[in-house]
Symmetry: C2
Subunit: 210 residues, 2 copies
DNA sequence: TGTAGAAGTGAATCATTATTCATTTATTGT
DNA sequence: ACAATAAATGAATAATGATTCACTTCTACA
């Protein structure tokens, strides 16, 4: 008798899987989920269409994983911002600012994650992902309430409002229908925009202008 | 020679067109855009598939019009709320409250208008529709700034934040993935939820708790 | 009643993509 | 080298649904 899966082989398979994911992600980054077809992914990854299905149960699963990966990084970033030193307000300010700036720097990907119409499985991921942000914010708000920097309130509702306010504020600038920001306008308005959003959000939380 | 379009005929055509629109809307109200196919619309309206195409250039056009109609009513409602007597804050409070309550009363339609993934033409309508709300809010904020009930701020950014905060707060409750609100929970939590959202929004604008 | 023109019909067609699977190619241990 | 097994291939198939169009039915008017 003969074939037994060897370490080398397991590694190669893992690499292929990774490459497929990376290529799928690249396509999303370039043109959103809409023009990332299985065939495209395969040809970019230099494998046959059928190979994709050796690694992923369906297109939806593949792209759900792409979504999760892209998202994990963003959530991680927010999480780290909220773990910096400072009171809850300062940390939330940092997190919101960084989130917005990162989105504006990778507009197509951000739009795909935040607002692009996607199929139901990916949409389910999106709901989770928004929930993940909201949970992080909620935690920070609770901490603020304990330490006294944020007045008593329904932390859950407030956190959802934060997510919504920032997401909506980015949709316009990010939306390809609007052409996104032109390169020229970009650097000029980004900071002002981010400032206004953050101001509104913090004020919504604290009831205090700065 | 013979046929000349008569008044009676023009009327009948208009009625058919209307009926098609109404049936399409009904389907959206029942199951969102996703399960509103041209064939379904035709059969519900008791016309042949081909007839749809006598009245609308394409499926996308048809549903874009459905979207516009549904939307017009909502925007109208907000507009009316903002035209009530009272200072800007009071009027905004009314508008936000009514908007949220109406959405929670027609959850499937609201979800379709606010958050369901839709094709690009309808998505373009959605952006306009969100813009329409934002514009109304922006106007009210400006009035508030003039009359002194709202402190100086970027009215444009703030209005977008309002739209986002309220939309996001509704997505969870409305989303069919979450099953929407169960009937039981519905009446219990609706008011609390709406209150929290509105509180956050007004505070975001004014920097003042109530 | 005849006929020119318009409206309505719905089965057939087209378009787009995801998915399959019979076949080929690679890998492993004897 | 060979047998046993797994991985890779990609053309063919399947599925979904929008759209068309040759034909039928209806309307208006002389």
């Amino acid at each position: 008798m003969a074939y037994r899966e060897t370490e080398k082989m397991r590694l190669r398979k893992a690499e292929n899987r990774q490459r497929i994911l990376a290529c799928a992600q690249q396509l999303v980054m370039e043109g959103g989920f809409r023009n990332a077809q299985v065939t495209q992914v395969a040809s970019l990854a230099e494998v046959a269409t059928g190979t994709i299905y050796r690694h992923f149960a369906s297109k939806e699963e593949l792209f759900a994983e792409v979504f999760r990966n892209a998202t994990r990084r963003e959530v991680q970033n927010v999480s780290e911002s909220l773990a910096q030193p400072g009171d809850a307000i300062q940390r939330l300010e940092l997190a919101l600012t960084r989130f917005a700036q990162r989105a504006l720097n990778r507009p197509v990907m951000a739009w795909a994650l935040i607002a692009e119409p996607v199929d139901p499985v990916v949409e389910a991921e999106r709901l989770q992902y928004r929930k993940a942000y909201a949970d992080l914010f909620e935690q920070a708000i609770r901490e603020g309430m304990s330490e006294g920097s944020i007045p008593a309130q329904d932390a859950g509702s407030s956190s959802t409002c934060l997510v919504g306010a920032i997401a909506e504020s980015l949709v316009g600038p990010l939306s390809p229908a609007q052409g996104g920001y032109g390169e020229a306008t970009k650097t000029i308005n980004t900071d002002t925009l981010v400032n206004s959003i953050v101001r509104f959000c913090l004020q919504g939380l604290t009831g205090t202008g700065r």
